[in-house]
Symmetry: C2
Subunit: 143 residues, 2 copies
Amino acid sequence: MATMDAEGPVHELTAEQCWERIEHEELGRLAFRLVDEVHLVPINYVVQGRSLLFRTASGNKLLAAALHSDVAFEIDWHDDRAAWSVVARGRLRQLEEDEQHRLDDESRQPWVPTLKYDVIELVPEVVTGRTFVLRRPETDSAQ
Amino acid sequence: MATMDAEGPVHELTAEQCWERIEHEELGRLAFRLVDEVHLVPINYVVQGRSLLFRTASGNKLLAAALHSDVAFEIDWHDDRAAWSVVARGRLRQLEEDEQHRLDDESRQPWVPTLKYDVIELVPEVVTGRTFVLRRPETDSAQ
């Protein structure tokens, strides 16, 4: 039980290794700020080049308000022995109608059935990632 | 490919159902704000009553700065057909030395070996959660 950013056997990932992981996953979490509140929502995304695209219900007030603000996007994975986490930082942009074909061209379709949606793009400015060696001590109570 | 908070087959979880899920998981993500930046880090936590405890490397500057600010904590799960997400909002507090036994009493030990650490408590003020029915259309291109 520790933050995953604790001191210890932690290794930085290269940007290329981060992108490999981002491209491999489909579900991440997006954190953004509205006035004094931090919001955190899961998003289902696709990667195009070096940007992330995701759909949101048309008129989603939360995300509309988050446009043009700095956001953080995160994916992670773990089993009992190891874990990694990748964080991308950047700004959101809503695609114009004549750009939305970018998402329609993708083979992956919406997971949640919904008729009307907006397409949001996140172009990360910074991508960082770390791997962790985990340990679940079995007889550590003598410490 | 859609935000998981899209319109559609979405159902709200009760607070009790949210806590069941929080108690069952061990790894979540914490979003917090430092001046204009939103940070998002994975954390490995334990539940005590209605609060979450997690360790952080002693002197972790990020989290020290986040103390007393509003934060959002999230866990989620999905397979090909369904997903859920639970978000807890509240404030962080660093446990005093004479309180740290609260964590030592827990049977679960640190995942990342580290000698010195601080213990942070998150007492959620609001806990919300939703379940989603997912669908991966196979022949949706005729839309």
